[in-house]
Amino acid sequence: MSPSPVMPARSTGRRVASLVAAGLGAALVLTGCSGAEPEKAQPAEWELTAQTDAPSGDLDSFTWANYAEPYSLDYAYAFDYADNMVLANVCESLMRLNPDWTLSPGLAESFAHPTPETWVYEIRSGVTFHDGTPLTAADVVASMSRHLDPAVGSSWYSNYQNVASIEQTGDMQVTVTMTGPDSQFNLGMGGSAGVIESAATLAEKGADYGNSTGGVNCTGPFSFGEWQSGESITLERYDGYWDPELTARSAEVKFIFMNDANARTNALKSGEVDGGWMIPADAVPQLLDSDQGDMLFGLNTAVNNLIISDLEGPLGDVRVRQALLMALDRQGIVDAAVKGYGNTTDVLTTESVWDGASDAAIASAFGDIEEYPYDLEAAKKLVEEAGVAGEELTYVTAPISSDFNVYAQATAAAAEAIGLKVNIETVTPNAYTALFSDPTAREGVDLFYTSWYLSSPDPLEMYSVLRTGEFSNYGEWSNPEFDAVVNEALTIEDPAARSEKTAEAQQIANEELPWLPMFEAPVTLFMGERITGVAPSIAFLYYPWAATIGAR
């Protein structure tokens, strides 16, 4: 593979820049930023990289900095960056989510969709698990059925919530029957929800499956080697891997858990560690100057938002939500929080997840929308009209990374500038996490920050979450028109037709602002001078990215 094309990501005025990434044969799109003030001094210059140079040869081993230890390598619980970035190299799913965020066949050689309620998967033959046993349809049934078992308590249950049955219907065929049309089920099979494990291993390991002693036995390019609790996980190349395209170039990869951001930056700068995803914002400029390797930016699906978690309070009035968004100096936040490596946005999805969308859908979803430029006077007026001046908001934050403070302070300053009082409450990271799962933790809370990424190539994943009564609809926002649009879109199989409905949902959310979109930022990656071959993309959560890394 030759050096891949990269695209300019910063421009003035809203436009859609798209470019074919030759190495992948797929289009990556990214929206230019709209809110940048022309006189802004020296905006951060950056480009997205789709693919780095191909390796010149194989490696014996390389090391990777992981910001946290995985909780588990059990795919049913792999729900966060730390777990999935390791698991993606060991375990494979029915479908494969590629670095350009498209889906292609994985352990399912092909799939059919004979009725709106059924998905039929033809399982690939000639695939073996790391213990040498062949992949069978029974393994697929056992692996998928775990998500339905309440005793397992799978994190991916929501992907399976409409599943009526999972059955073996042929030698190498598995049929999933849904309770109703659900266009999202198959799209989710490229993520951890679609991972296939050996049925024998699941039965043998039981409760210890996926933990540091139990390990996993999957079909990926690397096999589980050793898990040194609290320190590292070592993976080993699997010589019986089925796909020659993704056979591992390194005999071994060692993930080192480095919770401390400074320690991680030091290790990358000094060359002690070969690479890492998700570089702390403070370290990005330092690593750009480093001669130990390359600081890279890749495709992301995440949008940084303020979640409105109380619509009974002052923020229940849409004018106040609009006013708050207009009072936020979002470009300033991008500059302070991610050192300028991001773009402001007015919607809750990135263009990267609109795979298969029609041009018309893209145009209405990203072009024909309300923009909320920084305008204090207009914002003040809206707050006065709403009659909530002087009322108090509670913003909850936690000392998770340095940028959290930026979001909190900027939001407080914005709200105060338009006549609202803000009470910033700082809680422990754990209490902060509870905001996302425990309604009692959200009592009396008006706002909190999140970076929300999507795990499937469809923006509907975002909007289905905001329907009335959904678990993650934290503010209990309810809009019957929006619900109807999303519910209809969920039943549409054709991606282009579906995308046009989704665009309508995006327009409603853009007007109503159940969450306040702030900005989108690329995935960050540092690759040391010893290695090359990685595709910088948030697909590192599900795609065997470490297999492509070899000697520079």
């Binding site: 210890d208 933990n211 609290g230 320190e231 799962s437 425990d438």
Partner: protein, 318 residues
Amino acid sequence: MTTLRRVAGKLGALLLTLFLASLLVFFSRFLVPGDPVSFLLRGRKPSPEAVAQVTAQYGLDLPPWQQYLNWLTGVLQGDFGRSLQYRQDVSQVIGDRLPVTLGLVVMAGTMIAVVGLTAGIVASLNRGKVLDRAVLIGLTVLGAIPSFVGSIVLIAIFAVQLGWFPSFGSGEGFFDTIYHLVLPSIALAIVFVVLVGKVTRSSMVEQLGREHVEVATSRGLKRGTVIRRHVFRNSIGPILTVSGVLVAGLLVASSIVEAAFGLAGIGSLLVASVDRLDFPVVQAIVLLIVTAFVVVNAIIDVLEPWIDPRAAAGAGAR
């Protein structure tokens, strides 16, 4: 009082202390806000049956006293339950990390003993002189350096600048582990060296001024012999008492050093587990630290009379 009866009495007190500690350790978790199950969910959408099943799996649906009884029964059999975050037996989770912390505590303890005793003895023998002042000032300066600052400075100088030592990880194999633990041990030892140094000095100074020392000196015994037999041996009581406190202090302080050096010990595990509401792990570690503290102090109590015969005769002799 016979030695046997004294030891039996100590043992009874020790068991009572441990029992009370177990009550405190277990029930304090009900005072902490937050639901362990909501941690297990970590923001994901569960099925309602799954919430019920997971709650039952971890025994969280039982009344607190029954949870305590189950826990205590398990602990007495060496079963500390299952970690919520690692989905693994707590004994396994802690067992994996204990060697690192023990290595760290043993190395730091040795440094503290050697440096602290030497500094204290040298200072006391040169009381009022320049060397005494220098040692005292040196100790005071060291004592003002918190472990986390010490860690940062040590990493900056010896790991990043000079590259003599690794900046993270606990290494593999015996010698590599010792090599990896050098900087963390120093960072951990710094604060405690001051304590041992100062106690040694004042205890020695007190003994040096005693009548029997003057008598021994006037009898013409060599100064070295006097210091060894009369001064140091009699000074050891307070030093031992302080050392007992040190053990718990080292175990607790190790959390800061472990975090700074990326060591997978029980100190950093404790901090992470508290934050993640992983109660079974927190309870086991706290119980472990309390037990270590109580047992070490009991051993010191029992040993003291053999080292310092006057202690057996009662506190009055001091």
